[in-house]
C-alpha cells in the first residue's frame, strides 16, 4: 500500500502556485495526493480589522458573504486540473486573527507568541485526517517571504517530521518568483533545519500547474499584478528552476533528511521510489 501524500497549503492557492506540477505528477503516478488548506476558515464581519478591510479593498472583496465558497470553488477547479483531492480546515487567516497582525510588516514578521500554539492544533488536525497514516509524505511551505501563516505551517511540518513523517518543504510562489533573493534569506534563517535543495523535474505537468493557477480567478490579477502574462511568468520560473526544463524546488526537513539520506545521495526523488 502506497504511503499517503499530503500537501499542506496555508491558503487556498499556495500549493498550486508553488508546486502544482509535482502534485499533478504524483496524481498521474497513482499516488492520489491530497491538498489540505489550513487557514481556510469562514469570514464574519467581526473578524475584519482596519488592516483586513484594507486588504479586502485591495483584493476587490466587497462583502464577506460568499468569499469562502468562491475560494473553495476555485480550489476545487484547480484540484480537478491537477487530479488531486482537497480538504479545507477552518483556521482563520492571519489577517482575521484580531489585533495580532495589523500591518504587512508584522504579517510578514515573527508569528505572534500566542499564534505559535496554532502549529500544535494544525498537527493534531492533520493527524486526524482520514487520509493520515504513520509514515505519510507531507509537503509544507519553506515560508519564503515570511508570511506568518506559512511559518506556522512550516513549524507544523517540523513537528510532523519529528513524529516520523517524511516532510519536504516547497518553494513558496509567487514569493520566490517576485523576490528570488528571498529564497536565500529564508534558507539562512532555517539553517540546518533543512537539507540541500532537491530539483524535481515536472515535464508536461508544468502546463497543468499553469492551468490550475489560472483557476484562481479572484487571486490571479492581484498575485500577478506586476506581470503582463501570467503563463509566461510561471513557465519562465519553472524553466529557471530546472536549468532549462521545467522543475520545482524542494528541501527535505531535517528529520526527513536523515531518514532518506540514502535516497538523497542517489539523487532520486524519495516520493517516486
Amino acid at each position: 500500500m502506497r504511503r499517503p501524500v499530503i500537501f499542506l497549503s496555508p491558503h487556498f492557492d499556495d500549493v498550486v502556485l508553488s508546486c502544482g506540477g509535482t502534485v499533478a505528477r504524483l496524481a498521474d503516478a497513482g499516488y492520489n495526493p491530497l491538498m489540505v488548506t489550513i487557514f481556510g476558515g469562514e469570514i464574519v464581519d467581526e473578524l475584519l480589522t482596519d488592516f483586513a478591510r484594507w486588504k479586502h479593498h485591495r483584493w476587490g472583496i466587497l462583502s464577506t458573504d460568499g468569499v469562502r465558497a468562491a475560494r473553495q470553488a476555485e480550489d476545487k477547479a484547480a484540484a480537478a486540473i491537477l487530479g488531486c483531492h482537497t480538504r479545507w480546515l477552518g483556521f482563520p487567516d492571519a489577517i482575521y486573527r484580531g489585533e495580532r497582525y495589523t500591518a504587512d510588516s508584522n504579517l510578514f514578521g515573527t508569528p505572534a507568541q500566542v499564534d505559535q500554539a496554532l502549529s500544535d492544533l494544525i498537527v493534531a488536525e492533520v493527524c486526524s485526517l482520514p487520509e493520515w497514516r504513520v509514515g505519510a509524505i507531507v509537503f509544507v511551505p519553506l515560508a519564503i517571504g515570511g508570511h506568518v501563516d506559512h511559518q506556522l505551517t512550516y513549524a507544523a511540518g517540523q513537528q510532523l517530521a519529528a513524529m516520523g513523517a517524511t516532510v519536504w518543504a516547497y518553494e513558496d510562489c509567487p514569493y520566490a518568483m517576485h523576490t528570488p533573493e528571498g529564497v536565500q534569506r529564508r534558507l539562512a534563517i532555517v539553517g540546518d533545519e533543512v537539507g540541500a535543495l532537491h530539483i524535481a523535474p515536472i515535464g508536461n505537468a508544468a502546463e497543468k500547474r499553469v492551468a490550475a493557477i489560472l483557476a484562481y480567478h479572484s487571486q490571479v490579477p492581484v498575485i500577478f499584478r506586476f506581470s503582463n502574462d501570467v503563463g509566461t511568468t510561471v513557465r519562465d520560473h519553472m524553466r529557471r528552476a530546472g536549468g532549462g526544463t521545467p522543475a520545482e524546488h524542494f528541501w527535505p526537513l531535517q528529520a526527513t533528511f536523515r531518514v532518506s539520506d540514502s535516497h538523497y545521495e542517489q539523487g532520486v526523488l524519495l516520493w517516486s521510489c
Binding site: 476558515g41 464574519v44 477552518g90 488536525e125
Partner: protein
C-alpha cells in the same frame, strides 16, 4: 455525532450535539443548522455540554450556522463549552464571533 433537539419555539431552537464536532462531522452539522434556519428557526442555541471535542472545522460549521441565522435576522449562540473548546476558540480568536455563554438560559435571555 448525534444531535438532539431539546427545546423549541416558533423561531428558536436549542440543539444539543453529542460527541465530536470535527472535520468528519462538521459538514452534516452545518447542513442541519442551515435546514433549521430555512425552516424558520432564526435563533439557535447550541448546548455544547456533551461535545467532547471541537476542531477548526467544527468551529467553521458553527460560524456558517451563525451567518445563516444572521441572514435570517437572528443569531446563533453557544453555551456550556468545555475547556478544550474554549482554548480553540481563544487561539483562533473566534471567541470574538462565538461568545460562549455559561448556560442555555443565559444564552436565550441575553440581548446583545
Amino acid at each position: 455525532m448525534e444531535l438532539l433537539m431539546t427545546e423549541q419555539t416558533a423561531d428558536t431552537l436549542v440543539l444539543q450535539p453529542i460527541g465530536r464536532l470535527d472535520l468528519l462531522t462538521a459538514g452534516e452539522f452545518k447542513a442541519q443548522l442551515t435546514t433549521a434556519v430555512t425552516e424558520g428557526k432564526r435563533r439557535i442555541i447550541i448546548d455544547m455540554a456533551h461535545v467532547s471535542f471541537v476542531d477548526s472545522s467544527g468551529l467553521g460549521a458553527l460560524i456558517s450556522g451563525l451567518k445563516a441565522a444572521r441572514r435570517a435576522g437572528g443569531d446563533l449562540r453557544i453555551a456550556h463549552v468545555s475547556q478544550q473548546t474554549l482554548t480553540v476558540l481563544t487561539l483562533t480568536t473566534l471567541d470574538r464571533v462565538l461568545r460562549p455563554y455559561a448556560s442555555v438560559a443565559e444564552a436565550m435571555s441575553t440581548d446583545d
